[in-house]
Structures are given as structure tokens and as C-alpha cells.
């Protein structure tokens, strides 16, 4: 599993609520049998015209957004389908963290397993980040997982929640399946009940 420690990046603001996983990666791209290459199709129907040319007004198509690793998204990001193709596409594109006021449960779990950090912030910080991004499109933030802090350009550091198990797994790249495979005796004991 991929790990996450810290990063500093400019942000990509995507100001829409309830972005569902069908928008992140439309179902017609779910016929793949591996996890690679989905970054190209991330937000496909918002990003490209029918002929495949990029829609210039869509945020990811603005040249200065290239290479940015932090997505600033609206409330309830990742709702809908359980497809893990959504974090595969986000990570495949190059995102390492998503900031929002809330995430859909399955999306959040799936992200944590792919080294994509979901960062939950309060409403005010969220609004502040969007207005900072509007004033200065080159606004950048720093994320440090060990201290669970998101540092804003004004020097303010906001603490974000993450359960200690997920944090340890992300920091150390722990293989969760290996962890449970190691519990064979307990599983057998349960099955024998």
C-alpha cells in the first residue's frame, strides 16, 4: 500500500457539492481489469468535449493547474457508487490529498487504502480556502500527517481528524490485508464457534 507523510502543493479548487463517483470516473471506464491509467479519464465528462478535446473552462484544463497534488472539493465528496476506480483515478492523475467538509464513507475508506488522504476541515476553513484560491490561484497549502495539520498560507495550522489506525497505516505503508492475514488463529477460533 502506498504511504503518505507530508506534502506542500498549490490547490485545485473544485467548488461543487455532492460530487459523485460517477463524475469522478464514469461507469463506461470501469471495464478495466487493472488499476492503472484511469487518471486520463478523471472527471472525463466535465473535462473533455464529445470529440475528446479538453474543455478550456474546466479547472483541470487550466495550464497552471498541472502537477498540483491537492484537490479542494465541496461537501460530501465521493458519494454514490463504491467504485475504487474513483481514488485510483484521482491518484492516477497525481492527487495525493482531497480537502472537503465531509466525504462519503466508502470513498473515504477507499482513498485511505490508496495513499490518497481525505482531509476534513470545518466550514469556515473550507470557505476561507476557496476564497484564498479565488484571490490567488497560486495559493498553496502544506499537509503533515504525523501532526495531522493542514497549514494555510496565512500561517494558520488547522488540525484534521483521522483515526489512529489509518494514520499508522498511511505513515508506514502498512499492508492491511497482511495484518488481518496474520490473525489466522483468531479467525479460525471464530469459525469454530
Amino acid at each position: 500500500m502506498s504511504n503518505f507523510t507530508s506534502l506542500t502543493s498549490k490547490i485545485v479548487p473544485l467548488n461543487a457539492e455532492n460530487v459523485d463517483t460517477d463524475q469522478i470516473i464514469p461507469a463506461r471506464f470501469l471495464k478495466v481489469t487493472d488499476k492503472l491509467g484511469l487518471g486520463e479519464q478523471l472527471f472525463c465528462d466535465w473535462r473533455y468535449n464529445a470529440d475528446g478535446s479538453p474543455k478550456p473552462e474546466f479547472i483541470l484544463n487550466k495550464p497552471e493547474m498541472k502537477g498540483r497534488q491537492v484537490l479542494l472539493a465541496g461537501d460530501n465528496f465521493g458519494c454514490g457508487s463504491s467504485r475504487e476506480h474513483a481514488p485510483w483515478a484521482l491518484a492516477g492523475y497525481g492527487f495525493r490529498a482531497v480537502i472537503s467538509t465531509s466525504f462519503a464513507d466508502i470513498f473515504r475508506n477507499n482513498s485511505l487504502k490508496n495513499g490518497l488522504l481525505p482531509i476534513i476541515v470545518d466550514k469556515d476553513t473550507h470557505a476561507q480556502l476557496f476564497s484564498l484560491a479565488e484571490e490567488d490561484p497560486n495559493t498553496s497549502v502544506s499537509v503533515d500527517l504525523a501532526t495531522q495539520t493542514l497549514s494555510l498560507p496565512d500561517g494558520r495550522a488547522v488540525r484534521f481528524p483521522i483515526d489512529s489506525f489509518s494514520k499508522t497505516c498511511l505513515l508506514n505503508g502498512v499492508d492491511e490485508i497482511g495484518y488481518v492475514l496474520g490473525m489466522r488463529e483468531q479467525i479460525e477460533a471464530y469459525e469454530a464457534r
Binding site: Q23, T33, D45, G74, S81
Partner: protein, 469 residues
């Protein structure tokens, strides 16, 4: 201490619980389909391990398979490849597959065949790489969707790492008026509490309106829990549940049945059990529901008018509504009744069971669908298809001018070529109206099978109550 249904099931399935860690939860039934499993099986191969409990793992082909003549080859190469890989994975791992070549007589949408085969039982933990696994909660099971990494974990260990969610009591009391259905209840709940209203929670649906329902109606309700943000929706088992399960292929028999039944009867939430939240919906005043926007929470009574963004105070909500109406090409304050429709889709794990098909057929009997509308009826499983044909429903649909197709997800997810064209409108009995969900550029109004059938005849969005046969 008084416990809820959810807490009883949770406690009964904890294999291990280390401090500061999620619980290791045992999984009784793992359902697998072709779209969210190939990478998981690949993970097992890389580790050099086998599926721990193939006897608790069942596969089906539903998302990508064509719903036209099954004797024809699958033209979409990627879909064909995904299906071939699923067949190979199940064969290699000794997993029963209900597919095109094996078990074809029992193939169907994963959440339809689980209950139909008696695989789904009260008290079970049930997972699938599919968010509508919530459906199985109708039986007093804990069913929820998982991602592919978690599919890999369950294949490998038959366990899942889970943080304990909170609980919400969703009370539905009262009596539904004629022409108002279970689908309208769940659309009503989601419209009232929003698509994120259940985030972090498990819904338990309670109240006399729920008790009065058949299993098929309860499944429709639990199915769309995820559309309200709740990963699982549960309904306490009762005589209706036991009667449904009894005698099915995988249901316990004889002494095993008696033993299970005794346990199932202990599962309903205790008097005095507490929930983290309480929601409610009044069934007495509910009308048929329809969605107008691009998430399932954007719903209203079918006789209402499309809301006006100008009247919404919250800026981001206003923007979301404006964006949705622009996509749907609707104007504020317009009625949806009478709005043109190009396609009517009756199917999906929400509404493709016998009772749904019978309701639609009753409406369509002796009538014709509008020549301007393509009407697709897609049964949830091969067994439902057969039963419907025994009852002559296929003839009713075909004589009315509707398409009668093979079982699968079809236009619910539009992966198999069954899809809307750019700009088309559909009334659909499925569960998601997200942008492009039923085909790129397509626009979806979610509604009940009754509304769908009435619309098919009228050629425009119609209120079934004005045309009951």
C-alpha cells in the same frame, strides 16, 4: 444493556478488536460481480493465496452483460474480457458463478439473486463490491458496499476491518395512499434528509408502515440507503421475513432452520435501545415522488413544481441547484407533469422484482406505450424473467410496445450499451440520477414503477393515480 439490531449483529461478528484499531469483522456472505473484483483476485494471485471461504462467496455477471439475445457474442471487447476474467477467477477459486455459461438459470443482479436464492438471511454480515449491498439489510442483515481493496481483504481472510458506525432510527409511520409505493418512501426520506444525511451512520427503518410491507418493498427501501449517505439500511426481521426465506435453495432446513429461527427472533432492537439520531417520514401525507435534479436528494412530490434556486439562502446549495437545473435543462417553478420523456426504464436492483413488474404490467395491460418513447423492461434475474413469462407479463409488455429483455443492470449504469443518448430524458425506476449515469448527457427522473408505466403510456411524465387500470 438494551441493544439495537445493528449492535447485536456487530457484536456477534467481531473476531478481534485491538485498542485504537478498527474491529475485525467476520463476513458471512460475500457477493462478487465482474466489475469490482478483477483487481482483487489479481491481488490474491500476487500474494500466492487462495480465497479463504469459496463456500461463502458467490459470483454473478450483471453490470457489463448485454440484456439482448444471449446467444449473440459480446461485441464490447473490454466487457467481454472482464466477463471472461470473472469466469476464470471463479473457476480457479471454486466459487459458484451465476453467469452466462454456468448457473445461467439463476443469473441476475447481485442484490436480486442473493435474496432470491436464500443466500441472504437475517443476522448475517453481507458485503459486495457494490454500494447497493444495503439492499440485504431488509432481512435484518448487516449488508454494506465495499471497495475493491476490501473485496481483496474479504476474499483473503473472510474478514473486514471496520470502524463502528453510528445508528439512526428512521421511523416511517402511517398508511400509504393508493398509488404511493415503497420507492416513494425512500425518495421522500432522501429528499428530506439529503444525500449526505446518513454519512457515518447505519439506518434502521422502523414504524408501522415498514412492518406492513412485503420483503420486496423493504428491499426497495434498504437498497437506496446509500443514496442518503448511509452505507447500510436495516429492517428488523419478522414473520414476513421468515416466510420469505423459508424453503429457498440456500436457506437452512430442518433442525438447522429451527436453531437459526430462534436466534433471528432475538435480533430486533430491544425496548429502550438508543440510537445516535432519529429521522422520520409521515407515510399518511406522502405523494408519488420524482426527482428533478442530478442527485437522488433532489426529489419532490410529482404534482410539485421544480424549486427555484433564487429562493435558496445557502450559497453552495443554490449553486448546486442551478448547476443541476442547467444540466437537466429545466426552469425554476415549472411542473414536471407533462414533461417530455424519451425513454422509460423499468429495472435495476431497486425495482426489478416480481411485484414491480406486476404493477407495471397491470398499468400497461391492454394499453399501448406512446410511440415517442422507448420502453425497456429489464427483469432483475433469470428466475424473475421466467416467472414473469409464466404469468404472461412478457406478452403484456410486448403487446404494449415495450422491450422485454434479459436480466442485468442494463440502463441503470449504462455499461453494456443500454444507454440514453445525449440530451434524452428518462423516467427510470433505478436509484441514481447523477449526470451521465444512464448514458453520457442523458437526464434521469427517478420514480416508482407505477409512475414509470404511466409515463410510458402518456409519453410525458404522468401521475399514475389519474390512470389506474
Amino acid at each position: 444493556m438494551a441493544k439495537t439490531l445493528f449492535e447485536k449483529l456487530w457484536d456477534a461478528h467481531v473476531v478481534a478488536q485491538e485498542p485504537d484499531s478498527p474491529a475485525v469483522l467476520y463476513i458471512d456472505l460475500h457477493l462478487v460481480h465482474e466489475v469490482t473484483s478483477p483487481q482483487a483476485f489479481e491481488g490474491l494471485r500476487k500474494r500466492g493465496i487462495k480465497v479463504r471461504r469459496p463456500d461463502k462467496t458467490f459470483g454473478t455477471l450483471d453490470h457489463g452483460i448485454p440484456t439482448h439475445d444471449r446467444s449473440l457474442p459480446i461485441l464490447d471487447e473490454m466487457a467481454a474480457r472482464q466477463i471472461a476474467i470473472m469466469e476464470q477467477n471463479c473457476a480457479d477459486q471454486g466459487i459458484q458463478l451465476y453467469g452466462l455459461k454456468t448457473g445461467a438459470d439463476k443469473q441476475g443482479i447481485v442484490h436480486v439473486i442473493g435474496p432470491e436464492l436464500g443466500l441472504t438471511q437475517p443476522g448475517m454480515t453481507i458485503v459486495c463490491g457494490d454500494s447497493h449491498t444495503a439492499t440485504h439489510g431488509a432481512f435484518g442483515a448487516l449488508g454494506f458496499g465495499i471497495g475493491t481493496s476490501e473485496v481483496e481483504m474479504v476474499l483473503s481472510t473472510q474478514c473486514l476491518l471496520q470502524r463502528k458506525p453510528e445508528t439512526c432510527n428512521v421511523q416511517v409511520n402511517g398508511t400509504l395512499k393508493k398509488g404511493v409505493t415503497a420507492k416513494d418512501i425512500i425518495l421522500g426520506i432522501i429528499a428530506k434528509y439529503g444525500v449526505g444525511g446518513g454519512t457515518g451512520m447505519v439506518y434502521e427503518y422502523t414504524g408501522d408502515a415498514i412492518r406492513a410491507m412485503t420483503m420486496e418493498e423493504r428491499m426497495t427501501i434498504c437498497n437506496m440507503s446509500i443514496e442518503g449517505g448511509s452505507r447500510a439500511g436495516m429492517i428488523a426481521p419478522d414473520e414476513t421475513t421468515y416466510n420469505f426465506v423459508a424453503g429457498r435453495e440456500f436457506a437452512p432446513k430442518g433442525a438447522a432452520w429451527d436453531k437459526k429461527l430462534a436466534w433471528w427472533k432475538t435480533l430486533p432492537s430491544d425496548d429502550g435501545a438508543t440510537y445516535d439520531a432519529t429521522y422520520s417520514l409521515d407515510a399518511d401525507v406522502l405523494e408519488p415522488m420524482i426527482t428533478y435534479g442530478t442527485n437522488p436528494g433532489m426529489g419532490m412530490h410529482i404534482t410539485d413544481r421544480v424549486p427555484d434556486p433564487a429562493k435558496i439562502g445557502d450559497l453552495s446549495q443554490r449553486k448546486a441547484l442551478e448547476k443541476a437545473l442547467a444540466y437537466m435543462d429545466l426552469t425554476p417553478n415549472q411542473p414536471l407533469l407533462g414533461h417530455k420523456v424519451d425513454v422509460v426504464f423499468i429495472g435495476s436492483c431497486t425495482n426489478s422484482r416480481m411485484s414491480d413488474l406486476r404493477q407495471a404490467a397491470e398499468m400497461l395491460k391492454g394499453r399501448k406505450v406512446s410511440p415517442n418513447v422507448r420502453v425497456m423492461v429489464v427483469p432483475g434475474s433469470a428466475q424473475i424473467k421466467k416467472q414473469a413469462e409464466r404469468e404472461g407479463l412478457d406478452t403484456i409488455f410486448k403487446e404494449a410496445g415495450a422491450e422485454w429483455r434479459e436480466a442485468g443492470c442494463s440502463m441503470c449504469i449504462a455499461m453494456n450499451g443500454d444507454q440514453l443518448q445525449q440530451g434524452q430524458y428518462a423516467v427510470s425506476t433505478s436509484n441514481r440520477n447523477f449526470e451521465g449515469r444512464q448514458g453520457k448527457g442523458g437526464r434521469t427522473f427517478l420514480a416508482s414503477p407505477l409512475t414509470a408505466a404511466a409515463t410510458a403510456i402518456a409519453g410525458v411524465v404522468a401521475d399514475a393515480r389519474s390512470m389506474v387500470n
